[in-house]
Symmetry: C2
Subunit: 350 residues, 2 copies
DNA sequence: TTGAAAGCGGTACCAG
DNA sequence: CTGGTACCGCTTTCAA
């Protein structure tokens, strides 16, 4: 089944079939009808390789994901799902690469023209892949913001704002001493920028609002969580609010608090940074900043497509956090214990 | 940068360069050295489309995954990770498709020669994609076993054996009344075969060992878990052993039991079906049958490659379950309460 | 509005 | 052991 067969069947030339498919020149209604019918009748699908060779477009986007299972699993999945869906809407497919392939993998995929553009997740502050990507001469979209993003398009959640919103909510609802349970030490060690950016927003807002604030990295295990809470209660026993920026330990934190006899939210308010469905499905529904994985995936694909069409110049887009109040850290208007009420609290979102 | 440039640089013909790359005919050491050096110096990467066109091999495997976030998330991720890694070892890349694309997506990818072979996860009993796959005339590997697998290669965990092992362990350690908390009702509704197969092994073994056994589907929410445990305790109050074949609700089950004041394993033994790292990282380490996601991914790729090389005929391969005893349902030799000891217990694995 | 034909960059057959 | 070259199937320019 080639374009020649279709052309013969429809009684036109191959180029006409090609143009019917691509819409790059006008075709009489009658001709189009005949060609489309032949295509359907014969079950014709253009050969991807031939098309890529002739047009220098593969209609494939490479997606580089951190497939290490150490963290973020549901976030990565949601991201990937929305990215493939968005890509299909632009008639593109997604090729999956792992972070392990490193810079060589990027070069291979780009230089062999397997992919038209690259989307790279989990970008670190001084990511060695960044200079390579810049030299690739192909559209690139980074998820996350490296130290030197020059000339590269980036998109990410505005983690500074997210940290600020979490601290502000606790301040608004009367808490005076709060603690951030952050990502695993490994994340800080790798210099993944979101960890530091979130902390920055958290710290700054806590300071501005006159709160006493601490923060601890926390590995994804029950023992690490226990140690982390131990430390919190020892160093800052007056802590009444926890911000958990680490999806993997959410169940552990809630379970640990329960074992200590601390009720959420009465003895300890908890604000999380995680996908909404995860926040809704804990033992206590969690007040949270949503990680907009789906929106990031869709946006990344759109930015890549725009670059492919030459309609875009480098840009760093930070998505505003969406904050949702649930049971684990109610707003002042939800009838929580009056002693924590604060008449000066702000609006819930931003 | 084309093969002609490399040939000129090395002072040989294009075909020689091609043969150096493919190894399909013998090349003198000296020539090979010169060609390889030119390739490196020029940073040459063969054009994937051109290669696919000429050789009718894209070196791409299509992987169809259930990207709905409703469940299985870590399992799918692990599977995908090991599949990409295995594919790279065979010099192939992975194209990601979602189940949503359905039969049309399979036809598109196969007929346009984007992919050389297809690996399809989450296959249902009467999956409408199965006949389509059979007609595709390309290598296919199914993860899961449909009702009519004729002519198609399948690989999966031996869920019948897995269900049997779980029930047997509880029987071996003295339990007389046990309950299976199964997958979400949606999974049964879709007719995903693993649910029924596990139940079959569980039921049969329970019967053989003279146990009283019940089973309930369970949606992935705290409420559903609570209802499920309520029902278990109401209908069969003597239940002392739970088998949980539903990764999503594991934390909820443990948390619910704790809230009811039931200690694991003393008041209630728990056996899970889940990946090992998940079993190890619950509030109580879980005795479990491992879901061998990584092994499945690797095996699926190997089976696909073997078919591509014409070295294989249709086969259904069921991986034997690997059972690991941890704290939530100790073996008789682990010093658990003596009243549950059973001198006739068998070996732990199979 | 349509057709003819020259590539796109490899592969693999046919020669030598 | 190596070279020459006819394709692979589609896109796109040039002509009509």
């Amino acid at each position: 089944m080639t374009i020649v067969d279709v052309a013969a069947d429809a009684g036109v030339s191959p180029s006409t079939v090609s143009y019917v498919l691509s819409g790059k020149r006008s075709i009489s209604a009658e001709t189009r009808r005949r060609v489309e019918q032949s295509i359907r009748r014969l079950g014709y699908h253009p050969h991807a390789g031939a098309r890529a060779l002739a047009s220098s477009r593969s209609n494939i986007l490479a997606l580089v994901v951190p497939l290490r299972v150490d963290q973020n699993v549901p976030v990565v999945m949601q991201f990937v799902e929305s990215a493939v869906t968005a890509a299909r809407a632009y008639d593109h497919d997604l090729l999956l690469l792992t972070k392990d392939e490193g810079a060589d993998g990027l070069r291979r995929v780009a230089n062999s023209s397997i992919a038209d553009a690259l989307i790279v997740m989990d970008v670190e502050a001084a990511d060695p892949r960044v200079p390579v990507l810049r030299a690739l001469n192909r559209p690139v979209v980074l998820i996350g913001v490296p130290d030197q993003p020059a000339e590269l398009t980036c998109v990410d959640l505005d983690f500074v704002a997210a940290g600020a919103v979490c601290a502000a909510h606790l301040a608004d609802t009367g808490h005076r001493e709060i603690t951030l349970i952050g990502p695993s030490p490994a994340v800080y060690a790798r210099g993944t920028s979101y960890a530091g950016r979130f902390l920055k927003g958290f710290d700054r807002t806590a300071r501005e609002r006159g709160l006493r604030a601490a923060s601890h990295a926390c590995a994804p295990s029950y023992d690490a969580v226990r140690a982390c809470v131990d430390r919190t209660l020892a160093e800052q026993p007056g802590t009444t609010g926890l911000v958990v920026h680490n999806e993997a330990v959410l169940p552990a934190v809630l379970s640990d608090l329960r074992q200590r006899g601390r009720t959420v939210p009465d003895d300890m308010a908890v604000v999380a940074v995680c996908p909404d469905d995860m926040a809704e499905n804990q033992s206590v529904p969690l007040t949270s900043v949503a990680i907009p994985a789906a929106e990031l995936g869709r946006t990344a694909v759109e930015m890549a497509m725009r670059q492919l069409n030459g309609e875009s110049y480098p840009e760093i887009r930070l998505l505003s956090p969406r904050f949702t109040i649930r049971a684990s850290a109610p707003g002042g208007d939800l009838g929580d214990p009056a002693e924590h009420d604060d008449p000066h609290r702000r609006e819930q979102g931003r």
